[in-house]
């Protein structure tokens, strides 16, 4: 499509409003957060200041922010892929959890493989675990028309039990006081890229950012991405234009699972000494929030994950310095999701903007048409 000067398309206005809505959601939820601090704190003003600037006050806190951010990149990316294909597969939470187990099964082997290979094999194993999980709701929906949302939520409960069984039973290191697997082998560990006062930022952050770029390329620049987005926007249209909806859902689930697998492996092999998650981590839910905030654009997941990691770090600092519970961030997170998902919010102003723009475009066209009539030769010269 040729872009002419002075014209604004409806899509552009919609995009603008998406951004405005995201900004509004973040602002409102932060205000809500301050309100909660006000309710629960005995020194609200200093606590609010801490909440706003805490992660920037020391190197180690900033490093903590980066550590927090890296798993979020992967789960939000996975959700982007799934949501793009209009698949509300919420088993990402369980997939991330299971991937950590299946990769840890390889990672704990001593003298297994040399350094980079060991990690890669572990990650592949993690991906297989995640694929096995994410395929269940996808296949059940395709084959049996089972409600994917409730199915995947039920699956998460099942995997919670399964993980608990694994870590207290077969995979537990009995020589260790807590419930955890054996120590991750040195050859499977990810290198540390920045050590700030004991907070070690690992390579997983870089891998996550690279994956986001790959994810962006996949969704916006490949055939699969185009098909997935078509299915996401209008499944009926996609079906009639010959896109195999089932295939898109399956491939989307596999791709999302691969990101989950890499993410879980990086997180365990980068940050932890042993795999010690006895309950799911919640990163899957965080991924949902970030991908919505990012409008399913993997590149925007990077600032989205940074935002969430920022308020998480703030809440952690507050938890140590005052009597405010960390749950405050999870509450705020849900408000962000609700505000952004509310399509009706600002629908009036958006409609007015679209109408005003259409009128202006029509006027511009009329002017141009008039100009062309006066000077028919001008057009030929331009051409």
């Amino acid at each position: 499509m040729a872009k002419k000067k002075g014209y604004t398309s409806t899509t552009q206005i919609e995009q603008r409003f998406t951004i405005i809505r995201a900004a509004l959601a973040v602002t409102v939820s932060l205000l809500f957060c301050f309100l909660l601090i006000f309710i629960s704190s005995d020194k609200p003003f200093s606590d609010i200041v801490t909440f706003i600037i805490a992660p920037l006050t020391s190197k180690s806190r900033f490093a903590l922010l980066l550590i927090r951010m890296s798993p979020l990149l992967f789960t939000s990316l996975a959700m982007c892929v799934l949501f793009s294909a209009n698949t509300a597969n919420l088993a990402v939470e369980g997939a991330f959890y299971m991937a950590a187990f299946s990769s840890a099964a390889i990672s704990v082997l001593e003298n297994f493989l040399p350094a980079p290979l060991h990690f890669i094999v572990a990650a592949v194993c993690g991906c297989l675990g995640a694929i096995a999980v994410l395929m269940i709701p996808a296949v059940l929906e395709l084959k049996f028309n089972a409600n994917i949302v409730v199915c995947s939520l039920m699956l998460n409960y099942i995997l919670n039990s399964l993980g608990n069984y694994l870590i207290t039973g077969p995979m537990r290191d009995n020589g260790y006081s807590k419930e955890a697997t054996k120590v991750i082998a040195k050859s499977a560990k990810l290198p540390i890229i920045w050590n700030a006062g004991g907070q070690k930022v690992h390579l997983g952050l870089i891998i996550g950012i690279v994956c986001c770029v790959i994810g962006w390329f996949l969704i916006y620049k490949t055939n699969f991405g185009y098909e997935a987005r078509t299915v996401g926007q209008n499944p009926e249209f996609a079906k009639f234009s010959g896109i195999n909806v089932g295939k898109v859902v399956v491939v989307g689930s596999i791709v999302a699972a691969i990101f989950c697998g890499i993410g879980a492996t990086s997180e365990i092999n980068g940050y932890y000494r042993r795999m010690e998650w006895d309950v799911p981590t919640g990163y899957g839910w965080d991924g949902i929030m970030i991908s919505i905030l990012a409008g399913n654009n993997p590149l925007l997941c990077i600032p989205g994950a940074a935002f969430l990691a920022y308020i998480r770090t703030s809440a952690d600092v507050l938890n140590m310095t005052s009597n405010i519970p960390v749950e405050i961030v999870n509450v705020v997170q849900q408000v962000v999701i609700i505000m952004i998902a509310a399509k009706g919010l600002l629908a009036g102003p958006q409609q007015r903007a679209v109408v005003a723009n259409a009128k202006r475009n029509a006027e511009l066209q009329a002017q141009e048409a008039a100009a062309q009539k006066d000077d028919p030769a001008g057009k030929e010269v331009q051409a």
């Binding site: 089972a146 939520l153 039990s161």
Partner: protein, 325 residues
Amino acid sequence: MSMISQLLPLIFSANFLSTVIRVATPLILCAMAACIGKQANVQTITYEGMMLFAALAGTLGTSYTNSLIGGIITGILASVLIAGIYGYFNIYLDTYDTLLGIAMNNFSNYFTIFLLFVLIGRKADSSTIVSYNYPIIDIPIIKDIPVIGTILSGQSLVTWFAIISVFVAHFIVYKSTLGLRIRSVGRSPEAASSLGIDVRKTKMIAMLISGVFAGLAGEFMSMSYISFFTKNMVAGRGFIGIAASNLALGRPLYGLLYALMFAVSQVIANQLQMLQFTYQFANMIPYIITIVGLCITGSAEMRKEKQGGKAKDNKKNKKEAAKAE
């Protein structure tokens, strides 16, 4: 095998049935809530959140108002409030229901912990404050009859509410003007609105009614099942209620049956745990059965649609054949 031979006598006992009814109580109430929602075609998964809020508000309500009735009302109001917020965002602000449902559920999960901490300084449970529970109903004469007495007598008041709720829900859906409106809005909003029914308002009313049922279900958890609130105590029961209403296609009487079926599976799971069956696997059973149930209804619906399509095709073919003749 020995486990099964140990399990069977446990299942065929009056105690088992009495436990099933107790465990089924929140599932039945939630299934009724979900049935009314389903009839109005408001597909929400927020019953989980409503129940959780009601559980907390009920317990705190009895403690602060120092009366049982006060707690019951606070709990139901809390649940209705959540239903109202959900309804407002979903029906009036056109918010995508899955996302909204997840967000509201997680919101409830964390906000109840937040409130608990702010109000009584604990995150795990409310066992430190004094709160009232629903009374246990002992029925005078029936109590002494051997099997029936064990099953019927000594159940919580909420359990009786749950049984009544099935008939109330059935009455609302099938015998009242409101129910007719709800069903018409659920089946065909365009037709309903052409008849002058306010579609959004009707959906909202359905949502608020289901909030009352879900509220009772939540109160059962913290005021009867156990005697205080613990974090995340609903633990998927809302989803099981939804699954029951899905299996029942929104019909309350069938919803009761499916809720009982889920309760049976849950009690068997509990019994298995007592017999040294790995408890994590026993815990999975109700969820696995829910998924199987969803698959069965899903494929039944799919078959129905296909048959519907075929029937239409047949009609078309016949018409065309008739024309050709």
